[in-house]
Symmetry: C2
Subunit: 261 residues, 2 copies
């Protein structure tokens, strides 16, 4: 089933009903998708400061009010606890479970951070004639931990996570131009070419998501990724955090073109 031209509200309904539970790359072309971090209020200042200091991996699209499962900007009818296809719960830095609904874990002190996702710019890449391999291969995007340090903030510190798309050499400049114009969904690549230069030792074994084919004449291009907070959370070991499962995003009602500053 191809959801590339489906309405975001329709896809969110299928997700909420448990009919769609997979990754969301390629769905609802032109609409912004979002990563998720849900934290207790007592950690919210440090985390919001972490995003301010690291806008490339963590471009915040919306922050909920304390305790609220609703959004005001990205979608009016959203339920944050049910509208992602898959969630992760981290306790003291350990991944303790994956869920398709986190209603039962909700607490009145939770704050939700929705962070721009590079799936958003893939429809613009396709429009510009640039291939997106994991959509062709019907997989999740490959994501890697790197050696690129984030700016620390309060208790939060750690390295950047990146997503990778193989791009034909002759289209690399165009891929930079297209994505650089979309800073709120990660913007320009953070690295082009050498996985080793950013601490990735085995490109065929991503830390999150699936491996994809890199063809002759293609170069791996790396974008900052909204899974970065999960790597940071595993480092920092806070008591209780809910995130999305990598690649399993919230699909908003806001078009990419309306995310300009």
């Amino acid at each position: 089933m191809d959801y590339s031209s489906a309405a975001p509200s329709e896809v969110r309904r299928l997700i909420r009903e448990g009919i769609l539970t997979g990754q969301t790359s390629g769905m609802c072309a032109g609409y912004a998708q979002a990563n998720l971090v849900i934290l207790p209020r007592e950690l919210a200042y440090d985390f919001l400061l972490f995003t301010q200091r690291n806008p490339r991996p963590c471009p915040v699209l919306e922050v909920s009010d304390v305790g609220s499962r609703s959004l005001r900007f990205l979608a009016k009818d959203a339920d944050i606890a049910r509208d992602f296809p898959r969630y992760r719960i981290y306790e003291k830095g350990i991944l303790t479970g994956e869920y398709t609904d986190v209603s039962d874990f909700w607490r009145k002190d939770l704050v939700s951070f929705l962070i721009g996702c590079s799936f958003s710019f893939e429809s613009e890449l396709l429009e510009a004639g640039i291939p997106v391999r994991q959509i062709e291969e019907q997989k999740n995007v490959p994501m890697y931990n790197t050696s690129i340090p984030c700016e620390p903030a309060g208790i939060f510190h750690g390295n950047m996570v990146v997503s990778m798309r193989p791009i034909p050499y002759e289209l690399v400049t165009k891929a930079v131009q297209v994505t650089a114009a979309m800073p709120r969904v990660h913007g320009a690549p953070v690295h082009i070419g050498s996985p080793e230069a950013i601490g990735i030792t085995d490109i065929s074994h991503p830390d999150y998501g699936d491996s994809v084919t890199i063809r002759p004449g293609e170069v791996p291009v790396f974008w900052p990724c909204g899974v970065t907070p999960q790597n940071v959370i595993m480092n920092t070991k806070p008591e209780f955090v809910i995130t999305h499962a990598p690649g399993h995003m919230f699909i908003s009602d806001v078009k990419n073109v309306n995310l300009k500053y």
Copy 2:
């Protein structure tokens, strides 16, 4: 004395020594200037959230660590309490004093927010052949309270403040293009043309700064302004806040061109 090509560190030294105490429009062409809001830590989350929800008037360039008077990004040798030409102190929403040095008021629980300033893009406007009236007339920029509501966050709510520059009709499009490319120092105008449409009743009496001449064939163009937090603070009446005096900015060591996302 013309400081347009002076080094930021030299101007900051003159400011710290009390030799320069005036407004900073036109100084250190090409370098980012910054607004200031200093708050107790207990208000910092609400204020940081206010800036996240209102990035046009409040594009945050740097947030200090709690209690620190130093910066890490905008300048390595800065003293936040002495390197602005003029400060304001607000107690319970009342402006209780202006100072050229706020060292004596420093507290260990203070957090400083440095917010992009539209003075930063004036050198780019001049470079593009667009006149900047208050620099020609050696005045502070005119700033106005408006009827444009900000998105509320926690205790903070209120209307946007704007700066105004009269632009010849045939250069308005170019002025939009030049400034839209610089979102971290307020970016594109928020309004072009009718002061009444955004709640400004008397263009010749700005709420902050100086009045400037609008010549025949020119249109008033309004940009979001980093004095917005001061208007919001007067509404919200927190116990204790330090800000810069409007137009009396911090001049950073970071070039505008390096403020890209």
